[in-house]
């Protein structure tokens, strides 16, 4: 008995967490998947009815807007945050004396809650008293900057705030990547008389491919999960103009009482995440097991 206990302690220690993950992650995913195939409304029902919820979902103009928004927001956010992060990292990589302080400034937004970020930008961007009013106060009477309340432009305010929050983090990732490039290769290139910008474009940046991949994964993951920022900045408005799948799902689940729609939209979100993350995780775990 003691012998058995001794041999199986590690398994027993891991078991509760494993069971918890099985139930609360995989079990719950299965539950949501199941419900997404039923006619559930206010209460869940368990008779499979096929793809009816998904048909409703893709017929809904609000979901259409949400998916479009995710597309626009996701691409702009990922591309700009990566470019900005890379530029900042390269600028900071030039033996800057105050590097520590500057890095701290660039990265602090990452420590804030998205709700705080949203609240701050909501105030800055509000046309009545924010940037627009300020610039008008400087004498440019015709200046307009009303993106926050303009249904066609509101999604871009979310892009701005999200980039402000996350680009410093991308910079930190890239900076770590730049520093991990083999110093001897760079020295060899310098000895060969290759100009600095060529060293970056031809040697350093190509060797950071894995970091680009990581940054892409993290940012796309952030984009798909974006919820707090939208709630705090625009509340999904004006109208449904800035709805994202995450806010759509929340609205269906908790204010509209439409569990079927909530479940099916959540499943779509998960499929999008999986399509991006699964190949990445798979290759990561494989290369590590070898």
């Amino acid at each position: 008995m003691t012998k058995w206990l001794e041999e199986n302690t590690p398994k027993l220690v891991l078991a509760p967490s494993f069971i918890a993950v099985l139930i609360f992650v995989y079990g719950f995913i299965a539950w949501t998947a199941w419900v997404s195939f039923t006619r559930s409304r206010l209460l869940p029902r368990y008779d499979i009815e096929g793809l009816i919820q998904y048909e409703r979902l893709f017929a809904s103009p609000r979901w259409d807007t949400a998916l479009n928004n995710l597309f626009v927001f996701g691409i702009l956010f990922i591309v700009i945050a990566m470019v900005l992060g890379l530029v900042l990292a390269i600028l900071l990589d030039q033996n800057i004396r105050t590097e520590g302080a500057i890095r701290t400034i660039y990265l602090y937004p990452m420590a804030l809650s998205m709700i705080v970020t949203g609240t701050a930008w909501k105030w800055i961007l509000n046309p009545g008293l924010g940037v627009e009013a300020m610039v008008r106060g400087w004498g440019f009477e015709n200046f307009t900057f009303d993106w926050l309340v303009n249904p066609d432009m509101a999604i871009y305010t979310i892009v701005i705030a999200a980039i402000w929050q996350s680009s410093g983090f991308v910079m930190a990732l890239f900076l770590a990547g730049l520093r991990s490039v083999d110093g001897e290769i760079i020295k060899a290139a310098q000895v060969d008389g290759i100009p600095t910008w060529r060293i970056y474009t031809a040697i350093i940046i190509p060797s950071m491919a894995p970091i680009f991949l990581s940054a892409f994964i993290v940012l796309s993951h952030l984009a798909i999960k974006s919820f707090d920022l939208v709630i705090a900045l625009t509340g999904g408005g004006p109208g449904y103009a800035t709805d994202l799948p995450a806010t759509y799902m929340y609205a269906m689940a908790f204010s509209r009482g439409d569990i079927g729609q909530a479940a099916s939209s959540a499943m779509i979100m998960m499929m999008v995440v999986f399509a991006i993350v699964v190949p990445y995780l798979y290759s990561e775990l494989r290369s590590k097991d070898d």
């Binding site: 967490s17 993950v21 998205m114 800055i124 008293l129 894995p210 799902m249 929340y250 995440v273």
Partner: protein
């Protein structure tokens, strides 16, 4: 001597370098302004009176510094029908974060220790499954979790939120400790086994004393995640148990009365203070957690 011997070309490239250097610092400074401006605006706005906000400039310094907005935000602002400020919710967040951080860190340490040092058949699969849990969009578990919390009788309570945060934090805490313990040679565990120590003894006497850096990283990561959480907070709390992020959002979007921007900003700063404080004090560990969470290896 050097000046004389310098050719004009050299002198040119020298001045070119200095100009480039200046441009570099100007660029870095402008970016710093971009990142600092919102914080600056938040702070100045929170110190202005409503009148000054309406008449003044967004980025102007306050003419008369007043802490009224802070007082209101802390103990008088309205979140819907209640007007107690963010104070009770700030305490809720603390009551949620401390136990949730402690439990998830401890469990993560034990799990990581098992996965890294006591490998058994299937341990890697279990680890992969747990790791995978970090990446799901939480929307996919919201509905069943709401029902489960109800069945467990902890719906809308602080223990319920602690439970949720522990469960969905496990993947990351396990990952952190696993990656840290994997770099400790397996011979250490073997030596201790030959010395007669068992599973818990080895963890307690040998691994835990080595773990301070990773404990700090994990605690900071978990604290930031849990403190800043909004989705779980808004989905699984009720009036009275809401965390500070939810309360802040309610204050800002509250439709009753006049819009008090200075109070909004003060409340936002209060909600941000704990994580900002952690960031300033232990930024190094914060960054390490962020990068460890995204670049596994």
């Amino acid at each position: 001597m050097t000046d004389i011997s310098m050719t004009s070309q050299q002198r040119q490239s020298q001045t070119g370098k200095i100009v480039l250097r200046w441009l570099l610092y100007i660029a870095l400074g402008l970016f710093a302004l971009f990142y600092l401006l919102p914080l600056f605006v938040m702070i100045t706005t929170s110190l202005k009176s409503l009148d000054e906000i309406r008449t003044g400039d967004l980025i102007a310094l306050p003419r008369d510094v007043t802490f009224d907005a802070w007082r209101t935000a802390w103990s008088g602002a309205c979140t819907g029908i209640q007007c107690e400020g963010v104070r009770p919710y700030f305490w809720n967040s603390i009551l949620i974060a401390i136990p949730a951080v402690a439990i998830s860190t401890l469990l993560g340490a034990m799990n990581g220790y098992v996965v890294a040092q006591w490998k058994f058949r299937g341990a890697n699969i279990i680890f992969s499954l747990m790791l995978f849990g970090c990446f799901i969009p939480f929307q996919v578990v919201l509905l069943p979790m709401a029902r489960t919390l109800g069945i467990m009788g902890i719906a809308g309570t602080i223990p319920g939120l602690i439970f949720v945060h522990v469960i969905y934090g496990l993947g990351f805490t396990t990952l952190f400790f696993r990656n840290y313990y994997v770099s400790i040679p397996a011979e250490l565990t073997k030596a201790a086994k030959v010395d007669g120590a068992g599973f818990f003894r080895i963890f307690w006497s040998i691994f835990l004393p080595l773990s301070l850096p990773i404990v700090v990283v994990t605690v900071i990561w978990q604290f930031t995640q849990i403190w800043n959480d909004f989705l779980f907070g808004v989905s699984f709390s009720q009036a009275g148990t809401q965390p500070v992020t939810v309360a802040l959002n309610n204050i800002v979007n509250s439709t009753t009365g006049v819009k008090e921007y200075n109070v909004d900003m003060a409340a936002a700063i209060i909600a941000a203070l704990p994580t900002l404080f952690v960031y300033v004090v232990a930024g190094k560990y914060f960054i390490r957690g962020l990068t460890a969470g995204s670049v596994k290896g």
